[in-house]
Structure formats: C-alpha cells, structure tokens
C-alpha cells in the first residue's frame, strides 16, 4: 500500500487525530498565553522577579518532554491531563520572556506621559503598555505554538490525543508494511497544522497590531 492509498483509507482517523492535535495545542496555548502574560505583567517591573520568571520557565523547557510526561503520569494519571499540563508548561517560556522584554521595552517617558494625563494603573497597562508590547508577545505566542506542535506528539506516550498516536503506532510496528506510512502521515500532519497556525498568526497580527507601531 503506498502512502496515498494509506491516506485515502485512513483519512477519517487522521482527520480526527489532526483535529484533536490542533485543539489540544490551541487550548493549551490560550491557557499558556493567559498565564504567561499574567506572569510577565506581575514581574516585569522588578529586576529579580522578572529574571526569576524567565529562569524558572526556561528551566522547565530543559526537561525532556518524554521525561516530563513520564513524571506527570504517576501524579495525574494517563490521558488528557498530563498532556495539557506539559504543553502549557512548555508553552510558557517564550511568552513570559517576550512579555517581560516587551513590557520593559515601553519607553518610560510614555509611561510617564500616561501617568501625567491621569491614567490609572489599569488603564496604563491595558491602553498603553500591553498594546505597545503586543507585537513581541504575539511573536512569543507564535514561537510557543510551533514548539508545542512537536511536543504534543509525545503526548501519545501518555495515551493523550493527537497525531502522536499515529507516529507511535508506526514506531511500535516497525517492519510492518504500514509503519512508515503511519510515521509519515503523523509527521506531515503536524507540519501542515503548524503552517496553518502560522498563517493564522499572521492574520491575527494584521488585525490586532496598530498600524502606528507595525513594522
């Protein structure tokens, strides 16, 4: 059976896997973005807190993903839970780092001006600092998403959802006639998803970054 026949036969299963993969990554990205930006907002004004947040999140990233999921299984069990936790944790670093860098990069004289014309702390954050820091934050989200696409494949190890299942099935049955097709289908599926997400981010950037600061 060649690859195209394989795709034709299994497209139902593959689409379900792809959908679950995308959905898992998307949901984890939403959570990681909220947590990541929150951490950034809470820590960027203090030198050590900001550095601590960056160091902590980058330490998480150094843990091999397989090991991380392996460590999570005894604590939260198999399935969706370890997948979501691991993906969210991995997704944090680029977002936290870019949020801190972006927020610290806002010209202090602008913050001064915002204060001077009577904007409250919240108004300064939501109307001035975050919109100006948004382009680097969005870049962080993009990088995170690309990374999570790959890491999500490992989730199949913990019986999680997604295209990883396809890859693991293929690896598990190496030598059988569909093994290569399975690995290939899973991998290519992830690449296609990653490209689609990236295109979506370009669109989001167009829609959400003010023309006044777009490069």
């Amino acid at each position: 059976m060649n690859f195209w026949d394989y795709l034709g036969n299994r497209h139902q299963q593959l689409l379900t896997d792809a959908y679950q993969h995308a959905s898992a990554v998307f949901q984890c990205m939403v959570v990681a973005t909220l947590i990541g930006v929150l951490i950034g907002v809470l820590t960027y004004r203090s030198e050590w807190a900001g550095n601590l947040a960056t160091t902590a999140t980058s330490t998480i990233l150094t843990i091999p993903s397989l090991a991380m999921i392996g460590l999570l299984i005894p604590v939260v069990g198999l399935g969706v839970a370890p997948t979501v936790i691991a993906l969210t944790l991995y997704g944090l670093l680029p977002i936290v780092r870019n949020a801190i860098v972006g927020l610290r990069g806002v010209d202090p004289s602008l913050v001064d001006a915002a204060k001077g014309i009577g904007m409250s702390r919240a108004a300064r954050l939501f109307k001035v600092e975050l919109p100006i820091a948004w382009p680097p934050i969005l870049t962080g989200i993009r990088v995170s998403t690309q990374m999570l696409m790959g890491i999500a494949a490992i989730a199949a190890y913990a019986s999680g959802p997604g295209l990883g299942n396809e890859i693991f099935r293929g690896i598990g049955s190496l030598g059988s006639k569909n093994a290569l097709n399975q690995v290939l289908a899973g991998t290519l599926g992830i690449i296609v998803l990653a490209l689609l997400f990236d295109a979506a981010y370009v669109l989001i950037g167009r829609l959400t970054i003010s023309r006044g600061i777009r490069v």
Binding site: S109, L110, D112, A113, A114, K115, G116, I117, G118, M119, S120, A123, K127, V128, P131, I132, S210, R211, G212, I213
Partner: protein, 439 residues
C-alpha cells in the same frame, strides 16, 4: 490682549472665527498654584533633591522654571501633579489642597506636556487627543468636536491629521498634538516639561510663538521648565531662576531679572548680552515708528519724480496695489532704469510686523544694506519704518528706565534694611550700636 484675540479671529476664515469664539468663551482660564515648603527627599541621600520650595503662581500666569541641569526644576514641576510625591509640604491649586487627593483625579485637571511629545504611537492623533475627555466621561459627539477644535487651535488641519499616527508626523507636529492632548479636557493648569527641547531651533521658535498666541487666547496657568534662558525670557510672565536643590535664586519678571539680577548666580545664568536679550522683551509697536514718503505703483512717474525732489529725502518706498512694501527707490534709480518702474530700485526682501520683537527688527536692520526695515500691519500693508537710529534711541531709553527702576528697587531694599537695623538697634539697647549693626 483683546487686540490679539481680534487679530487671530479676524485673520482666520469665518468658520475658524466661529469655533475660535466658541473655544474662548467656554474655556476655563487659569487657577492659582501655591507651593508651600515643598520638599523631596530620596531615600539614601543626605541632601534633599528639592529643598523647601515656596511659591505663589497667579491665575493665568506663565511661570518658567529655569536653571542648570540637575537643579531639581523638573522634580519640582512633577510634584505639582504628583508624578513625584513630595516628602513634605503642601500644594494648593485654586485654593484647594491637592496634596492628599487621589493623584489620578488631580492629574485630569492638570494638563501635562513633555519633551518629544509623549504621544502614544499605537493611537491615532485623534485617539491621543481624545484620551482625557474620554476618561472623564464626555459624550462621543462632544469628544469628536473637541478633537477637531483642538487640532484647529494648534494649527493642524483636522481633516488631514486626525487619522494619522504619531510616526507619520514631524517633530514639530507631534509637539503640537502633545499640547493639544494636554489641553483637550480644558484644564486650568498646564505643566510643560522642556516640551520644545527635542525639536530643531527653527521649529522651536515657531512653537514658542504658537504657545504665546495660544496663551493669549486661553489664559491658562502655565508652568514651564526649560534650561534655555532665552526661551524663558520669550515665554515667561515671570521667571524663577533655580539653583541646586531647587532653591529660588530669583523669582521675578524677565525685565527685572535681566536688568537687576539678584546675585552672581543669576547674572551668570543670564549670561552675557543682557542688553541684547532685553530687545526680546520689547515689540516694534512699543517704539516710535518713523514715516517715510511712499508712492504706489499706480502713481504716474511724474508724481514720483516730484516727490523725490520735494521731500528732500534720498529714498521712497514704492507700495504695490494693496499697499504692501514693494521696492525701495533711490534718487538715481529711475534715471538709470530709463524711467521704467519695473526695472528701477531694489526689492523689499524683509519686513517686520508690529508684533515682532526689537531683536527681530535689529536683525532685519543689520542685514539690510541701507539699515532700515519696513514695518507692516496685519495684512502686510505698510505702516512705517524702523531704522538703526530709532532702535538705538529706544534701547537707550529702555535701559535708562530699567536702571532707574533698579535704583529705586535698590533704594527700597536699603530703606527696609535700614529700618530693620534701626529696630534691632533699638531692641538691643543703645549700649552697643556697633555690635547690633554687625548682627
């Protein structure tokens, strides 16, 4: 001042005049500001950054803080809207103690313009200007018309500029929008922290003129920080010369500071050429303008010849159809040009208005090859001539008057001092007058 308002409104179009009138009639004019022993002490430093500044600023007055860098002038300014919280002392605006009220509420009543404009790059010009009115809850249509009005006020075309982003504007235009934003909610007080520090000299000059015009219309209380003494002289009703830790070395009118600096620090800061700087404080309309014979381009040649011969002067000013200075005609000019007016004489290349400073006039006179400059009215029509002699005479008179003022001032001070000494002597008893005098 009424003259200036009239000038600006009549000079603009009918619709401009309408909005201008609406703007001035409804506008809040200035409030008094009182600073009482205002002190800022940063943790970990012995000396306070600002040491017990007390000052009263009248409503509608433009006060300039001027001093060397690091003297605390900016800190003092930022304490007025509490961007920097004072360590001790009180701030009163229009009699109301604002030292302990919510700073956000205070700042919405106090306009704030800073160096390099401080415009938010991700918002359009209109959004930037609308910020404060929006925060204090104005309605949409009111904000919209206010934005147009403010752009008009600072000399930018609303249709062209309101949708632009700050980076699409020149430095001078950004600064204008910055001022428009500061004034949008019609605050009685405007704080300006070296607002023109980052623009080129020509634009700065322009912006200063605009600010003077605005202030003539609006009568806000303006506190303006600069390190440029010339800027201070040009803009200030009164100038506070500050030395380190924001100690007030002298707080007086520009004239008084120029002619009678309180001490060596102030005279050092005033710098050389006080007499030249004094020229900035007097306008052409304040001095005697000479009159010279004029002819218009419509006059027949014979009249022109006759005038030249009869009046006994060497020169005539030829005016164009609308009465504006056009050419200088000297005696031989017409002969040499074989009677053709089109070719005779030298074109008038520089004129000054009655609002120009004497310094501008001097500049024009010095660059003119015959040492005189035509003065023009509102629509560019000829009103007279200023020459070197007029300038010299008026400067002499001016300096003499200043000197008399200064002497009188000195006299008063001495009298006061004498009285004090007298009292002290009496208080200390008659036994030791020498010692009391020394004390």
């Amino acid at each position: 001042m009424s003259e200036t308002t009239a000038a600006t409104t009549s000079g603009s179009t009918a619709s401009g005049a309408d909005s201008g009138a609406a703007g001035t009639s409804g506008a809040t004019s200035g409030a008094t500001i009182e600073l009482e022993n205002l002190t800022k002490r940063y943790p970990g430093s012995h000396e306070p950054a600002v040491d017990s500044v007390s000052m009263e600023i009248k409503a509608g007055e433009t006060v300039i803080f001027v001093g060397p860098s690091g003297c605390g002038k900016s800190t003092t300014l930022k304490m007025i809207n509490r961007l920097i919280e004072p360590t001790s002392g009180r701030i009163r605006i229009d009699g109301e103690d604002v030292t302990d009220i919510d700073p956000v509420k205070l700042r919405r009543k106090v306009g704030y313009a800073i160096q390099s404009s401080g415009l938010f790059p991700h918002m359009t010009v209109a959004q930037n200007i609308a910020l404060v009115p929006k925060m204090i809850g104005w309605g949409k249509s009111r904000i919209k018309s206010r934005v147009e009005e403010m752009l008009d006020l600072v000399g930018l075309d609303p249709g062209e500029f309101h949708g632009r982003y700050p980076r699409q504007l020149s430095g001078g235009q950004q600064q204008r929008v910055g001022v428009a934003r500061a004034l949008a909610a019609d605050p009685p007080v405007l704080l300006m922290d070296e607002p023109f520090g980052a623009v080129d000299p020509i634009t700065r000059d322009h912006l200063q003129d605009e600010l003077i015009r605005l202030q003539h219309e609006l009568h806000k209380t303006i506190v303006f920080v600069t390190h440029d003494f010339d800027e201070a002289i040009k803009l200030g009703d009164r100038i506070a010369v500050l030395r380190e830790r924001s100690h007030i070395a002298q707080f007086d009118t520009p004239e008084a500071i120029l002619t009678n600096p309180a001490d060596d620090f102030v005279s050092g800061f005033v710098g050389a050429g006080a007499a030249l700087k004094r020229l900035n404080l007097t306008r052409v309309r304040d001095v005697e303008i000479a009159d010279i014979p004029t002819v218009t381009v419509d006059d027949p040649l014979q009249t022109i010849f006759d005038k030249l011969r009869v009046s006994g002067v060497n020169e005539l000013l030829l005016l164009d159809k609308r009465g504006r200075p056009y050419k200088w005609l000297r005696r031989g000019d017409l002969m040499r040009a074989k009677g053709s007016l089109a070719r005779a004489g030298t074109l008038v290349h520089d004129t000054v208005t009655r609002d120009a400073t004497l310094r501008d006039a001097l500049e024009a006179v010095l660059t003119d090859n015959a040492g005189r400059v035509a003065v023009t009215g509102r629509r560019g029509e000829y009103t007279g001539v200023v020459d070197m002699e007029t300038l010299m005479n008026s400067v002499h008179e001016m300096l003499e008057a200043d000197r008399l003022d200064a002497v009188e001032h000195q006299h008063e001070l001495e009298e006061q001092r004498a009285q004090l000494t007298h009292q002290e002597q009496e208080g200390a008893g008659y036994g030791d007058p020498g010692g009391a005098a020394k004390a």
